[in-house]
Structures are given as C-alpha cells and as structure tokens.
C-alpha cells in the first residue's frame, strides 16, 4: 500500500540540481500538478530528460519559463521558442537525441542494459563522438543508458498498491521512465481500490512506484 502525498510534498522530495525523467508528449500525459509544484517551489538547475519541452505555459514548458532547468535531453524543442532562446543565450544546455534512441536509452537504463546498438543517427551529427560497432557487416552506433534521480509519471488511474494504467496517446514515455529512476512519483487522475485494475490491464506494476500523488481537489 502506498501513502498518497501532496504535490508540495512531492516537490519537497526533489532537490535543486536533480535529474528528472518526465512523461508526456507535447504536454499530453505529463504530470501537470507535479510540474506546477516544482515551479511553485522555485526549483533550480534541474536536468530534464523528456521527449520535448512542450510549449510555453504548458507541461514541461512551465519549467523552462520558470528557468528551473539547466539542461535538457530531448528529441524536439521546436515548439517552445523559450527553450530555443535560452539555449541560444547559453543559459540552457540542450542535448538533442532521436526519439527512438531516447526511449531505448531510457529503457536500457531501466532494464539494466549497458547500451544498445542502433542505425539511427549514423551519418548525422548524432554520431559525433560516439563509438561505432559492426555486427554482421552492418555498422551501428553504441547508445548508452539514461537514468534519472526521479521519474515523474502522468497516468490515467492507479490502485492503492501503485499499479498504473494509461490512456490512448498519453502512454508515450510514461511506462518506460517508470523503470529508470531511483524514485518514481506517479500522478494519477484517479486512485481506485486494489482489484479495480485487473492484472492484465496493469502497464506499470506498483512495485516500481514509490509515491502516488493524492487526488486532485474536486
């Protein structure tokens, strides 16, 4: 059984300078109340590993606007001009990673792989400085694991032991980042008794989840 915590309590667990994996794709499926709490707590120098930085005023974009972030590892920042502006001004470090490589690197970090070999990025700036390894006559890039201190997971529903369900395109990075952090905090829309989510519907087993965010005030 988990103990539900408030967004402020969750934010208090996360120190300045922490590395956060955050779920969501253009803010869809992101843990919005956790993000708001981090902004309210005036966190600084965070490293964010996520698909994108959304847009100003939405999802991870709020952390960018609040200048809470020192470094971003993402596949796309094109719809957030603030990310681009801070990057060009040298205030924000950005590592761009192909989306498929990014999710595989996070998965590798979560399932204990030392790395994966991929053809994506060969012949592009993504290959710069990376080891190339040949297997059966084909060349691949060696991509190394990514992990976070915390994973902030947005989800549709949780039960009391932390089993999680996701909905439609709000799955995205969430089930994978839940594998790859020292502390996993899940923000469900609703929390239901054990047994309401049948075993076959569980996408993230509760044993991966350290904290559940309490239900939103209605």
């Amino acid at each position: 059984m988990k103990v539900a915590i408030s967004p402020a309590e969750a934010a208090a667990l996360i120190p300045d300078g922490a590395t956060l994996l955050i779920g969501g794709f253009m803010a869809v499926g992101s843990p919005h109340r956790l993000i708001d709490a981090l902004v309210a707590a005036e966190r600084k120098d965070l490293t964010i590993i996520a698909n994108d930085t959304a847009m100003p005023g939405r999802g991870i974009g709020k952390l960018i606007t609040a200048r809470a972030v020192r470094r971003v590892v993402a596949s796309h920042i094109g719809l957030n001009p603030e990310t681009q502006a801070q990057m060009i001004a040298g205030e924000l470090e950005v590592e761009l990673v192909p989306q498929g490589t990014l999710i595989e690197r996070i998965r590798a970090g979560g399932v204990g792989l030392g790395g994966v070999l991929t053809a994506t990025g060969l012949g592009t700036p993504v290959a710069d400085g990376k080891r190339q390894i040949e297997v059966d006559g084909k060349t691949y890039l060696l991509e190394t694991p990514l992990r976070g201190d915390f994973a902030l997971v947005g989800c549709h529903q949780a039960d009391y032991v932390g089993n999680l369900e996701y909905s439609l395109t709000a799955h995205n990075f969430n089930p994978i980042i839940a594998l790859a952090a020292d502390v996993v905090i899940a923000e469900p829309r609703s929390i239901v008794p054990v047994g309401v989510i049948p075993p076959d519907a569980v996408k993230t087993p509760g044993i991966l989840v350290d904290h559940l965010l309490e239900r939103a005030p209605s």
């Binding site: 498929g100 592009t124 909905s167 395109t169 994978i176």
Partner: protein
C-alpha cells in the same frame, strides 16, 4: 488545385491497402484526405496510437488523444494504444510500411536533410531520423523550390537526417525516384516540360524513358 493539394494527391497514390503509414506534421498530414475509399490503412502517430482518425466532433475532444503535433484526433475502430518504446520499435524494426516526410533538401544520393538549419532553426529531429532509418518506404513530400532556390541539390549542405536513400520525392512539379545511379525523373506535372523541372532542380536528373504526366488520381 494548389501545390500542396497536388503533392498530397500524388503521394496518396503511393499508399497501399492494409498497411501501416506514418504521416509527418504539415504537408504530409494532408495525404490522409486523398486516399481512395477502398484503401484501408492504419495511420500511426509516433506519439502512440495505431489507427489515428480525423478530428473529433466539437466538445468530444479527449486530452489523452492527440497527434504528434498535439492536435486532437480520434481513434478508428481496431486502434491500439502503444507506448513510445513500442512506437519506435515498430518504426525501427521495419514494421512501418511507409512514412511521408517533409524535406529541406534532398540530394543526388537520395539523402534527406529535414531537421535543422545550423544557426537558424534547431527544433530537434524528433522521430525523423528513426523514420528515415527504419521505415520500409520513405516518401519526401515537399515544394520543389524554396524562395526560388532548388531544394533538390547535388549534395545536401544541411545536416543529414539519415544515410538511407529515400524511395521517392514528390513535389508540385515532378515525381523523382532516387536510385543507385542518381535521381530519375518519373513524372512531370501537367503543363510543364522536362526542361522546366530541370531548371528548378539543382541536381542532375536522369531521364531514361520519357516521363509520364504526374498522376493525381
């Protein structure tokens, strides 16, 4: 018919029935509008649904169901939700039959550059590198020139998206197939000559047989 519609209509003819197709944001997304009724395909959005549908009725939008650009969509009957590892597993594992992407440049080797202009536009590659490296068929849908300058060039001057040779280039002027020997001109839009296309193209075009008129249906 404007240029974009012309391009989308022509690309739609490349879509085979019962396949999995990924359409990029912008021009490529228009292709869905011109599929014949008897060609059933599943559209994939890389953010995670197989069976992407049209915009939902007003008031019935679901914040958990969007396309890769964040716009509201529906899911067709038989749709499947997938996470990003599965989404890119499908893309990189050769399970995606076709992707349609925009382009900044394509060169005589069939190499595509479509994700950054150094010093100007650094949006990130998103899923583009994975799509070009992994899809079974890559179609580039783009206008033929940018402010009068050819986008089809001898060698890309912009950073590449992948080393893979794309399968087809469709513009409002022509249909061009990159091959081992170079760029082959396959079709020319109605009212244009081969020389018109050559004049707007920076790379050499091979014309082994008389190109047909660009089909639109």
């Amino acid at each position: 018919m404007n240029d974009k519609e012309r391009i989308a209509r022509r690309v739609a003819l490349e879509v085979e029935r019962d396949t999995l197709v990924n359409l990029g944001i912008g021009l490529p997304s228009l292709v869905a509008n011109y599929l014949p009724d008897d060609v059933h395909v599943f559209f994939q959005a890389e953010n995670g649904v197989i069976g992407l549908g049209a915009r939902p009725p007003e008031g019935m939008e679901d914040p958990d169901l969007t396309d890769a650009g964040g716009g509201f969509v529906t899911a067709v009957p038989g749709a499947a939700s997938i996470d990003s590892a599965m989404s890119f597993g499908l893309i990189r594992g050769g399970h995606l039959d076709m992707t349609v992407l925009g382009g900044l440049q394509v060169d005589s080797h069939g190499h595509l550059a479509n994700w950054m202009v150094p010093g100007k536009m650094v949006p990130g590659m998103g899923g583009a590198m994975d799509l070009v490296a992994g899809a079974r068929k890559v179609v580039v849908a783009m206008v033929h020139t940018a402010k009068g300058a050819p986008k089809i060039v001898p060698d890309c001057t912009l950073p590449l998206t992948a080393l893979r040779r794309v399968d087809l280039i469709v513009t409002e002027m022509a249909v061009i197939e990159p091959t081992e020997d170079g760029l082959v001109l396959r079709e020319v839009a109605e009212g244009l000559s081969v020389d018109d296309v050559r004049a707007a193209t920076g790379a050499e075009l091979l014309v082994p047989v008389a190109p047909g008129q660009m089909r639109l249906a």
